[in-house]
């Protein structure tokens, strides 16, 4: 990838992250931390591509670990965040 282009993506993404969070009530800090934890679970995709290109047993083993950990990050992050936020929903009904 073009280095300069990537730099622009870095910069814009950083501002986006900052803006998205800047006005969040304290009550949502924990779910938001958990939610952002889920979002970086997309590392799974990188792990899959790394494993997909792996050839030697060593590469395959490390790639397997990458996919395993990435999948756990994504799945665990989703479940935990969903459970926290579910409690906010039940209260709206009352």
């Amino acid at each position: 990838m073009d280095g300069m282009l990537a730099l622009y993506i870095f910069m814009l993404a950083a501002f986006t992250g900052y803006e998205v969070i800047s006005r969040v009530p304290v009550i949502l800090h924990t779910p938001l931390m958990s939610g952002s934890n889920f979002v970086h679970g997309v590392v799974l995709v990188g792990g899959m591509i790394a494993l997909g290109q792996a050839e030697t047993p060593l590469e395959q083993a490390i790639g397997f670990v990458a996919v395993l950990l990435g999948a756990a990050n994504a799945a665990g992050g989703y479940v935990v965040t969903e459970r926290m936020l579910a409690m906010f929903k039940s209260k709206e009904k009352n």
């Binding site: 993506i9 949502l28 924990t30 958990s34 970086h40 997309v42 792990g47 290109q53 579910a86």
Partner: protein, 457 residues
């Protein structure tokens, strides 16, 4: 080419969904929709990745996803609400580990194109590995697997030297014309040790900040590896989380009035100092505590980690409802860093069914303590320590606290006479208007409920 286009378009949509999802999660009304959107983005990105041309090891891949996904899903479903902080820590660590492993695969393949790619791969590997081992240590501490504070002699010097040596090895990898397996291996070991060593001495109220910091770290690592792999969706998701996580970390550190550098290098317990506290702790029985609250007109409850550990939030709310039936005004005061994550207490009280309107932040409620008949402190310690206001030599001097000591009477529910997680003496416990109700929050509040019921008949 059509497939390539489909994949790129799907990654693009996934990146949008992640940002919208995070945006949604920053407001209580749309929070649930937010996580679902982000979830759809994740499934989309994962499924189309299988279509990538020339992918091998498909069986291995499916096994790894199935194994990791199912284990994490089941453990996430089964864990108690009170143990959420360490679950977030461990899942975050796994993300960091995945980023580091991706870099390791690229190093093993030996196909680094250009200095910039190698530099970012190395940076991502370093940050990811530190986040991995650091998060595992954080998990072990919160889970109680590991002793709470462990300090090496000359801890800060060890940290700095270890960090410099690790960075030195990283620089050598970037400069070297060819990938040297020994060098890379040593670098990964050093980075893992560094993460663990940095985290070991950290404890107490600093823990949530560290988990948040590692969350931001993992985001950055994922962003850097996204560049190495040439996947913009990873760059965007990673850097957005890195920036958001950094801001969140700053907000938390600010709430405690402790700069991040202090959290990493001046652990609370070790900071020592603080004037000796005069006087003694005065005990109160459950019946007297019940009477004090039953015949009060206003009670402010200050929950802390002790309530979370005991899982007492349902009992606390049951007691509050009983008191309200008896005409007592009951509200909750939450310190920004009460518990082990910011908002930890909000989540637990929400689970027990406490409505929003009864829960107040530090700024909203601090003036009200003077009008309260009883401040009931349940398993909280540093966040109500008046030394933070008065004692310049105290390690927590300057941290904004809940002014529970201003209430007419203070009841503290506490397991024993010890100084608690951070190891700092709390002047509040020795004040003339403070009474201590010893026992786990679950059992102590349970007894209070019985007595309140008896008085209401």
């Amino acid at each position: 080419m059509a497939i390539k286009w489909l994949i790129d378009a799907s990654y693009f949509v996934a990146a949008i969904l992640f940002i919208l999802g995070l945006k949604g999660m920053s407001s209580p009304v749309s929070a649930r929709k937010g996580i679902v959107w982000a979830g759809v983005g994740m499934v989309l990105a994962t499924v189309v990745t299988f279509l990538t041309p020339g992918m091998g090891n498909m069986l291995l891949m499916v096994i790894a996803i199935g194994l990791g996904g199912v284990l994490a899903w089941v453990s996430g479903k089964r864990v108690a609400m009170t143990d959420m902080p360490q679950m977030v820590a461990i899942y975050n660590g796994m993300g960091g580990g995945a980023a580091a492993a991706i870099a390791a695969v690229e190093f093993a393949r030996g196909e680094m194109h250009g200095t910039v790619v190698t530099l970012l791969a190395t940076l991502g590997a370093l940050i990811g590995a530190v986040s991995f081992s650091g998060s595992v240590v954080a998990w072990a501490k919160l889970q109680g697997v590991m002793n709470k504070a462990f300090r090496l002699p000359a801890q800060n010097a060890v940290n700095v030297v270890l960090a410099l040596v690790t960075v030195g090895f990283g620089a050598a990898i970037v400069i070297a014309p060819q990938v040297d397996p020994m060098l890379v291996g040593a670098f990964f070991v050093l980075a893992l040790v560094l993460g663990a060593v940095i985290t070991l001495p950290i404890g107490g109220a600093d823990m949530p900040v560290v988990i948040s910091l590692f969350n931001a770290f993992t985001g950055l690592a994922v962003g850097f590896e996204g560049f190495v792999m040439g996947i913009p969706a990873l760059i965007i998701a990673g850097i957005v989380v890195g920036a958001a996580g950094t801001l969140l970390t700053q907000l938390m550190a600010k709430a405690m009035n402790r700069p991040i550098s202090n959290i990493l290098f001046v652990p609370m317990a070790a900071a020592g100092g603080g004037e000796a506290v005069e006087g003694e702790q005065k005990e109160v029985g459950a019946m007297d505590a019940a009477a004090m609250m039953r015949y009060a007109s206003k009670v402010i409850i200050v929950p802390g980690y002790g309530m979370a550990v005991a899982g007492a939030q349902h009992k606390v709310w049951e007691m509050s409802e009983l008191l309200e039936e008896a005409g007592v005004e009951v509200v909750f005061a939450i310190h920004p860093v009460a518990g082990r994550m910011p908002g930890h207490m909000n989540v637990l009280l929400a689970e027990a069914g406490v409505p929003y309107e009864k829960i107040f932040d530090l700024e909203e409620i601090n003036a009200d303590f003077a009008q309260a008949d009883v401040a009931l402190v349940i398993g909280a310690n540093d966040v109500v320590n008046p030394s933070a206001r008065t004692d310049k030599s105290s390690p927590i001097y300057g941290m904004p606290i809940l002014n529970a000591d201003m209430a007419q009477n203070v009841i503290v529910v506490k397991r024993g006479k010890g100084t608690g997680y951070s190891g700092i003496e709390n002047a509040l416990f020795y004040k003339d208007n403070t009474r201590l109700l010893y026992g786990s929050a679950q059992q102590a509040i349970g007894e209070v409920i019985q007595h309140v019921k008896a008085m209401s008949v």
